[in-house]
């Protein structure tokens, strides 16, 4: 079976995973209520500080980060094969684990893109954010931000496969850190130099910067450059994830821990 076929089978499993959590009605009501009110809470901090500029900054940041927060599900989802005892079967199969994991978790990328766009619409309505025609470019930018977060989360998911009970703790720890460091709530320059450097290799930082430039009416080549940087970060994380997933699977096979949950 080719890698593409494995990926497609993974997509089918992922779709069923998603259905176990949400349908269209619950996604639009419960999920968006949770994400929307969470984002609203942070945006209102700008109003509390009495700064419309800060409000706009928090609005864009929180609308974009809503996607990566949703994509964070990839971290626990990477360990579900452990609980379902299908992990050893995947490890011993002739195909690499990577397309299977990538396919199964891809649905959360879509979930992230939808969440971010819906949050943009919701916050835009609440605070009267007028989007220029060029805002159509939000779609590819947010897709890239969610894709790079997906690759990053796959790497973490691969690592946490060695200690599956930590999957949710890791997911819920990483997201506030991304919110703090990647320019969502305060500019990256607020942090010490070593943290600024770390932010450059994390997902969200460059993509969010591209979104801010786009909505501020900045030059499109600059937007494209920042978007390309985000893509580069994502591809680097994907390569890391591909190496980590197979390497750890082989490690597990060597020390006999592939069945442990």
């Amino acid at each position: 079976m080719s890698a593409l076929q494995v990926f497609r089978k993974g997509l089918v499993v992922g779709r069923e995973d998603f259905r176990a959590f949400w349908n269209l009605r619950t996604w639009l009501s419960a999920w968006m209520l949770r994400i929307g009110t969470g984002a609203l809470l942070w945006v209102l901090v700008g109003r509390m500080l009495g700064s419309e500029e800060k409000l706009a900054y928090l609005l864009i940041g929180n609308a974009v980060i809503a996607g990566p927060i949703a994509v964070g599900m990839v971290i626990p989802a990477s360990t579900w094969d452990r609980w379902e005892s299908t992990y050893p079967l995947l490890v011993v199969s002739p195909s690499s684990m990577v397309p299977a994991q990538l396919g199964r978790t891809a649905i959360w990328w879509l979930h992230g893109v939808g969440t971010s766009l819906a949050t943009f619409a919701l916050l835009g309505l609440c605070f009267g954010l007028a989007l220029p025609p060029r805002a159509i470019l939000l779609l590819p930018l947010i897709a890239v931000v969610c894709a790079s977060t997906h690759a990053f989360a796959l790497t973490l998911g691969g690592l946490v496969n060695r200690v599956p009970p930590l999957r949710n703790v890791l997911q819920n720890s990483v997201m506030p850190l991304l919110m703090a460091v990647c320019g969502v709530s305060v500019p990256v320059s607020f942090w010490p130099p070593w943290l600024q450097l770390t932010a450059q290799v994390l997902p969200v930082t460059h993509g969010l910067s591209a979104v801010r430039t786009l909505l501020a009416g900045g030059a499109l080549p600059e937007v494209a450059e920042q978007g390309a940087l985000e893509l580069l970060v994502g591809v680097s994380w994907l390569a890391t994830a591909a190496f980590t997933i197979d390497w750890l699977a082989n490690q597990g096979r060597a020390d006999g821990s592939i069945e442990l949950t």
Binding site: F21, L33, L41, V45, L49, P176
Partner: protein
Amino acid sequence: MDEVVPPSVLPLPRVRTARADVWFVAVTALRTQLRMTRHNIEDLMPVLTIPLLTLVSLAIFVQAGRADLADRALVASLLMTLGQMGLFVGSEVVARDRTQQTLELAVAAPGSYFVVLATRIFMLTLLGVLGFLEGWLIARLCFGVQVRLAHPLLFTTAVLATTLATTGTCLITAAFTSLLPNARTLQHALNGPFYLLGGVLVPVTLLPDWVQPLTRINYFYWSANLLRAAMRPEPPEQVALSLLAILALGLASAGLGLWLLQRAFQHLRRHGTLGLT
């Protein structure tokens, strides 16, 4: 020859539930929950993760030159951790007992399962206090901001009252998670509005007028005001009213929760699915 009495008319053994037994059950439940939590890191997830949001809120305040709002960041961290511990961990107690096939035994035991449940949820929620410590350390070590408790006794009382109210509220969600397979959707839905309407981070006055009445029936509104007052040097105001509101709302929720749990258990018993998953 003695007459054979059919089993259905044999008298059931008399079960005594003295007040001392209730305390014994509560203390045992408390110790058991602590022991279970020690072996399950998932139980402590909100404590380990929610206070990290203090990094976000304090970064915003410090960058805006408003480090004086640090008490808001810490109160938000504390209340969100308490809420998550109750809503996402405490509410799962019944569902978890059911999955682990211990619910039938617990319900069949002479001690009240409701006492066991309320105690376990209370214990789990109370662990959320550790979130305040974590938030305080983040403020001190990452931003050099030191937040003092001007009225420690009031702070402790407010935390205990909030924990009791959270326990009461989570009896309602526990009833739903014990019965409905997709009750987690409800947990997700409640999460955000609860904190937004409670004014845990931003004042509720920033919300639209039509929402204002809803904030008063959310005990977090009263808790947040009381906790912030306990951290400021000025003499706190409306202490009795706030405490009364927290406890009254908690009691009303507990009453509704117990009623719902009884209904849920009747349903599970009738369908013979107490132990089924």
